[in-house]
């Protein structure tokens, strides 16, 4: 069974000036343990797609039609309370800019610890610290005392992103959204982070939705690629097939 299914999802933003259609009848499904790259130009609705699945859109946005289900269970009508439970456990997300995604006033340890506490409230303080250290190691951070007590502004971009990833992993998610997770990083760090994603998928068996506009990134790690344009998801298929089509269409024009 597919871990996530989206069917005919339409989302609009309602502003005083009128309605803006951000997603138009988007359908796709995500398989267990799959990495799906969602590609498209800026403003085509990639981020809105992730956020509407997670119900993290601003108040002015509304899901007009469509269904979202996880492992066959419909979650379209879930309340905020129910979504909160899902966000910390079933879904997780890594953001584009790690430097702003972390709370600047909290230490690395506190931020990862908070995520652990929300996911596993039954853990004792000591167990929680152990779990934080384990997560940091998993994300490729050295869980030294100094590192744990550092603030985000003391980290490099790559380390900050690893910290965000550790937070995301604390949720032990079935589906991880990576919204341009490597775009803000320099190329060598990008490669390391992508490698980390591959390793994590293998270890934890989670599915990853990788939003990117870099075909290289998609080619390196994705199993399938979805293409978006103007709020529509117009093509989804195996990575080689779709990327080849793109190359051909660009050569023709």
């Amino acid at each position: 069974m597919d871990v996530l299914t989206v069917k005919d999802l339409s989302v609009s933003f309602y502003r005083p000036e009128g309605e803006t259609e951000a997603l138009k009848q988007v359908s796709f499904s995500l398989r267990e343990g799959e990495i799906l790259a969602v590609m498209g130009e800026t403003g085509c609705g990639k981020s809105v797609l992730c956020k509407s699945i997670l119900k993290l859109l601003p108040d002015i946005a509304r899901i007009k039609t469509g269904h979202i289900s996880i492992r066959g269970e419909e979650i379209t009508g879930y309340s905020e309370k129910q979504m909160q439970k899902l966000r910390g456990s079933f879904f997780s997300m890594v953001f584009q800019n790690p430097m702003t995604a972390l709370n600047p006033c909290m230490t690395v340890g506190e931020q990862i610890g908070e995520a652990v506490r929300l996911r596993r409230p039954e853990l004792s303080g000591r167990e929680r610290r152990q779990r934080v250290a384990a997560l940091m190691e998993l994300a490729g951070l050295n869980p030294s005392k100094d590192r744990i007590r550092q603030y985000p502004f003391q980290l490099s971009g790559g380390m900050a992103q690893r910290c965000v990833i550790a937070i995301a992993l604390a949720a032990e998610p079935a589906v991880l959204f990576a919204d341009e997770a490597t775009t803000a990083l320099d190329v060598t760090v990008q490669a390391q982070i992508l490698e980390l994603f591959l390793k994590l998928r293998k270890r934890m068996g989670m599915s990853i939705v990788l939003v990117t506009h870099n075909p290289g990134v998609a080619a390196a790690v994705a199993d399938r690629v979805a293409l978006m344009r103007g709020g529509e998801l117009f093509r989804i298929g195996d990575v080689e097939e779709v990327l080849e089509e793109i190359i051909h269409s660009h050569n023709l024009t």
């Binding site: 997670l54 993290l56 905020e80 309370k81 909160q84 439970k85 899902l86 966000r87 910390g88 456990s89 879904f91 997780s92 997300m93 953001f95 800019n97 702003t100 995604a101 972390l102 709370n103 600047p104 006033c105 909290m106 230490t107 908070e114 995520a115 929300l118 996911r119 100094d146 007590r149 550092q150 603030y151 502004f153 003391q154 965000v164 937070i167 995301a168 604390a170 949720a171």
Partner: protein, 334 residues
């Protein structure tokens, strides 16, 4: 680490002393350059009946004939030893005059500050949480209108309604005659002045809290916090408030003298016997010695609070800490 800490303290003390010194020079010069004759404060109407020679003699006795620099030098020598001279108007040691009044001002200002601090935080949080909903809009509208009303006018309005029309509350003084020690009586007298002090300042700070929080709410890290499974309100309390607190505390530290000083107008309107009425009178009657001390007192408070604001901000906002702060970690240089 220890050494750096001491250096920081010395640095701040030095700044403090220098600022107070400059302030004293400024107040001294400006008050003496302002038009008016201090002899009026000392002798009242009698000055007009005095001959020019008598006036000259009186001036000499008060040391007002010397050049400004000499006068200032003499004042400074006395001030360092704790002798601030006598008040021309009250003919008593300046310190005594102020000591008799300062308690009243501290009570009014302190309570006003405390209430403003707590209520502004509470209102700001509430409005940020209910952003753009009905409750937020109503509070914002009330606040905008109220904060536009000048303090003296608001005082008069409240006086008219509660003291004159309704007769519920006393309109002037700090206590009824003969009831100096009665706490309940003092409390009743405090209500109106306190209401004006709080209403006059509350909204500004509440809006600041609200807007700071809304800025924080729009920050990227809120999304990550919500991804952890936190609800909107929890994110506000646990994450956003933390980001907004340093600037709120710094702001309130700066606001402390502002609110204490804001009691001056209120005191005058309600004839409340505090430093405010004293400042007003001393400036009006060229009571130099008194004016100097009142201004310096207020100024010292302002300077002290500003320094305090900086160090508070630095202490709770990790981004503002210097090398080797209290925790002993190093800020990475880039």
């Amino acid at each position: 680490m220890k050494k750096l800490y001491i250096v920081t303290i010395l640095h701040n003390v030095g700044k403090f002393v220098l600022s107070v010194f400059l302030l004293s020079v400024l107040v001294f010069t400006v008050s003496r350059l302002a038009p008016g004759d201090p002899l009026y404060a000392f002798y009242g109407e009698r000055v007009e009946k005095m001959s020019a020679a008598q006036q000259e003699e009186a001036r000499e006795r008060l040391g007002l004939h010397e050049p400004l620099v000499t006068q200032y030098g003499r004042w400074l020598r006395g001030a360092v030893r704790g002798d601030f001279g006598i008040s021309y108007q009250y003919k008593r040691d300046v310190k005594e005059v102020i000591a008799a009044r300062i308690g009243n001002t501290l009570l009014l200002g302190g309570l006003g500050f405390g209430l403003t601090f707590v209520l502004a935080l509470f209102l700001g949080l509430f409005c940020a949480w209910r952003e753009d909903r009905a409750a937020d809009r109503i509070i914002c509208a009330i606040g905008t209108v109220t904060s536009c009303i000048p303090e003296f006018w608001l005082s008069l309005l409240l006086l008219l309604v509660f003291a004159v029309w309704l007769g519920w509350l006393p309109g002037s003084g700090a206590y009824s005659v003969g009831k100096e020690g009665d706490a309940a009586d003092r409390a009743v007298h405090l209500v109106l002045p306190l209401a004006v002090v709080v209403l006059g300042h509350l909204w500004y700070y509440a809006f600041q809290v609200r807007n700071r929080l809304l800025e924080e709410v729009r920050a990227d890290y809120v999304l990550l916090a919500r991804m952890k499974g936190l609800g909107g309100r929890q994110v506000l309390y646990r994450h956003c408030l933390r980001g907004a607190m340093p600037s709120y505390l710094s702001m309130m530290a700066v606001a402390l003298p502002h609110i204490l000083g804001g009691t001056y107008v209120v005191e005058t309107v309600f004839s409340y016997p505090g430093i405010g009425t004293l400042a007003y009178e001393s400036a009006r009657y060229q009571d130099y010695n008194l004016l100097m001390v009142v201004s310096l007192l207020t100024g010292t408070l302002v300077i002290f609070c500003n320094l305090l604001a900086g160090s508070i901000g630095g202490r709770i906002d990790p981004r503002m800490r210097r090398h080797g702060g209290a925790d002993g970690w190093e800020v990475k240089s880039r």
